[in-house]
């Protein structure tokens, strides 16, 4: 018989559209079917490590904030362990989910995550990666969800040794991946979809 590679093709992506909040954060839109919106809180009790707040806005290529985006983050706990079925290295903090989802503020588009500073996680070759948070952005006009990462400006040594950051050709774009401390003590991480400050997005 003719040989065939029987792999399936990934389902093609389509935009999340203008009403992604109905499906993913319905309580935010006033549709109260579920007890609450998933991903609203990343803590289910007292957590280990440094508690931090991350705020940001997603901007389009004209500098206009997106108010119809959904932002998700995924990260390990303060010890670098994931609250995942695929975590084989140890038991993650039972009071920390590691996953957050935000529809952004209805008027300003600003998203806020109350989380913990992530611990370091190894790269497949065993080197340690700098502490980071995985980010996924979907919205009307985005045909395929965009992956990026939040690194921390106050981790210069870890960032300088990070296997991914060091292989970025245009090193002058690295600041687009760095969360900076604001005057109020929170970290700032704005996302620019396009333009001179365009965030580095990842094909992972």
């Amino acid at each position: 018989m003719t040989q065939r590679l029987d792999y399936l093709k990934e389902s093609p992506s389509q935009t999340a559209g203008p009403y992604v909040h109905i499906g993913c954060t319905p309580n935010f839109t006033g549709i109260e079917i579920y007890g609450g919106d998933l991903g609203t809180s990343m803590k289910t009790g007292p957590v280990k490590g440094e508690e931090i707040t991350i705020k940001g806005i997603v901007y389009d290529g004209t500098g206009t904030p997106l108010r119809d985006a959904m932002i998700e983050i995924w990260q390990p706990d303060a010890a670098g362990l994931f609250a995942s079925a695929n975590e084989t290295r140890g038991q993650a903090d039972p009071n920390f989910t590691g996953w957050g989802r935000s529809p952004g503020d209805m008027n300003t588009g600003e998203f806020t995550f109350e989380t913990v500073k992530p611990g370091a996680v190894p790269f497949p070759d065993g080197r340690m990666q700098a502490p980071h948070i995985t980010v996924w952005v979907v919205a009307r006009g985005i045909n395929l969800g965009l992956h990026t990462r939040i690194y921390f400006a106050d981790e210069p040594e870890a960032n300088a040794a990070d296997p991914i950051l060091t292989r970025i050709e245009h090193q002058n774009r690295i600041p687009t991946l760095l969360a900076e401390k604001s005057a109020d003590g929170s970290y700032r991480f704005d996302i620019h979809l396009q333009g001179p400050q365009e965030t580095i997005f990842f094909d992972i």
Binding site: F82, N143, F202
Partner: protein
Amino acid sequence: MSPIKPTGGFIPRDRNWQPDALTPPYKTSIKRSPQAALLSFPTTLSEETSPVFGHNILGELDNDLIHNYAKAGESAIGPRIIVHGRVFDENGRGVPNALVEFWQANAGGRYRHKKEAYQAALDPNFGGCGRTITAEDGSYEFRTIQPGPYPWPNGMNDWRPAHIHFSVFGHGFAQRLITQMYFEGDPHIKLCPIVGVLKSQEAVDALTALLDMNRTVPMDSRAYKFDMVLRGRRQTYFENRKEGL
């Protein structure tokens, strides 16, 4: 059980198959599409792990959009349908315990949202969202009403085909996917600029659910079948897996 298990990193996403970011006929993409090259690298633990959603988060009516927003004893208006299928990975394995969320317009094509400007009536008994978690074989199902097509501001007179939005969590954050399901035979499919971002008829067909008479419940609901595929992992010998990876 086979000694070969898919425990490696995720197979790269096929960017020649997935839609491009910049698709001018879909106007909103023009200022929302990154222009620099994406940074490619093999998946790490950050992308190979994913949050866990237990069946205990689900309410009894979460997968019944006909009733989950309806007053007691009432139900949403429109053609009653069952949507069912399986979630697979690219290796053809069913994906169990995948959180599947869905949202849609009502039978008249109207969304329950303050920014919605279409004059079609709201259905007081229809909220428009639901969710479920796949079974051990990756199967899922829910009950809803068939949504209507609706107009949207893009060209002067663009209408979306009837569709249901899907958001899916697999077992790795790299698998995260949002897509839309269309209905077999809808004449709006070939006219739609959002469907038009898909690069081939095969890709359109992958998002077009088929009428499934075998799953129809006589005198109650018709049925549509819609399978979805998430990225797969490279298959490696479990025994050869590097410590800690």
